[in-house]
Subunit: 149 residues, 2 copies
Amino acid sequence: MVIIITMPRKPFKTLEARACQAARHSKRREVIFEVLNSGHSHLNAEEVHHEARKRLPGIGIATVYRALKFLCGCGQASEFIPADGVARYEPGGSRAHHDHLICTSCGRFIEAVDPAIERLQEKLAARHGFKPTRHKLEIYGICAGCAGK
Amino acid sequence: MVIIITMPRKPFKTLEARACQAARHSKRREVIFEVLNSGHSHLNAEEVHHEARKRLPGIGIATVYRALKFLCGCGQASEFIPADGVARYEPGGSRAHHDHLICTSCGRFIEAVDPAIERLQEKLAARHGFKPTRHKLEIYGICAGCAGK
DNA sequence: GTTCTTGCAAAGGCTTTGCAGTTCT
DNA sequence: AGAACTGCAAAGCCTTTGCAAGAAC
C-alpha cells in the first residue's frame, strides 16, 4: 500500500539563486539572521521572535515565520522538527549537518556527528534501493548533567 | 545556554500496568487496535479514523486520539512524528523498533533496521555522557520505484 | 451505583495567508 | 512606479479538553 504524505505544514521550497537574489535588503531578515547566528541555537519561531523584538520592537510573528522559511530556502538556515512537532531553527544549511541528542529531562540539545553512522546510513539506504537526500537522527535520553543529579 | 522544550503536544505518558488493567473493555479501542494491526501502517490520526469508521460508523475523532494515546501508553502502539509534524501511528511498542526511509516523491514509508547503526548510536551517546532511551532515524529521499520513472 | 468511555463542540497551539500600508530599487 | 516586504488579524490544521450522555464493571 502506498501512503501519501500530505504536508499541511508547507516545507520551505528550495529557492533558486534567482529568487534569493531578487530578495531585497530587509532589516528584519537581517536581524533574524543575526539572531540565529548569535549563539542561541535550536530556537523555535516564538523564541526567535522574542530575540528579534529586543532589536526591532515592532517586528511581527508573521514576518519571523516568513523570514525563517526564506532563509531555509536560501540555505542560510535549517529547520528541524523534534518529537513535540514544534519547528526549531539553526543557522546554516545542510552543510553543517549534525545529529541531535535531546535531553528529555532538561530539554538541552547536544549536537553530534559520527561519520561512521553517516556512512552506514548511506549503505542502509542503498540496500533498499533508496537514494537519500537528507536524514535526521535524534536520540532522546538523559544528559550527563541531569544524570548526575 | 539551556533551552527548555515545552511540549504543547502532550506526549503520551507511559501508563503503569495498573492503569492499563483498569481500562475497560471497549469496542472502540479494540477496533482502533485492529486498524493499526490490519496491514495499513504509518497511518495518521485522520486515516485511522477513516478506517475505524468503516467498522464503527459513529466513532468520533476525539475517541481516536484518546485511544491512540492510550495504546501508546500501554505499549500496544507507537507514535512517531515525521518532518511534516503530523503524528503517525504503528502497532506495537518500542519492542519492534525500526527506522524509516521516507520517499519524498510518493510518500512511501519503508521500514529498516541496521544493528550496526544501533550500536554506533549507543556509542555516540555514551561518548557525550548521554543515556539514551529512544531514538529516531529518518532518511528522506527517493525510493527505488520513483527513481525508476 | 460508580467509574471509565464517548461524541460533540469548543478551545488551544503553532503556522500560514489576505490585505492594505510601507519600504526598497 | 513597480515589486517586494511587513503587521495585523483572520483563518487553517492538527490535537486536546469540557461536559453531558452512555457503557462497563
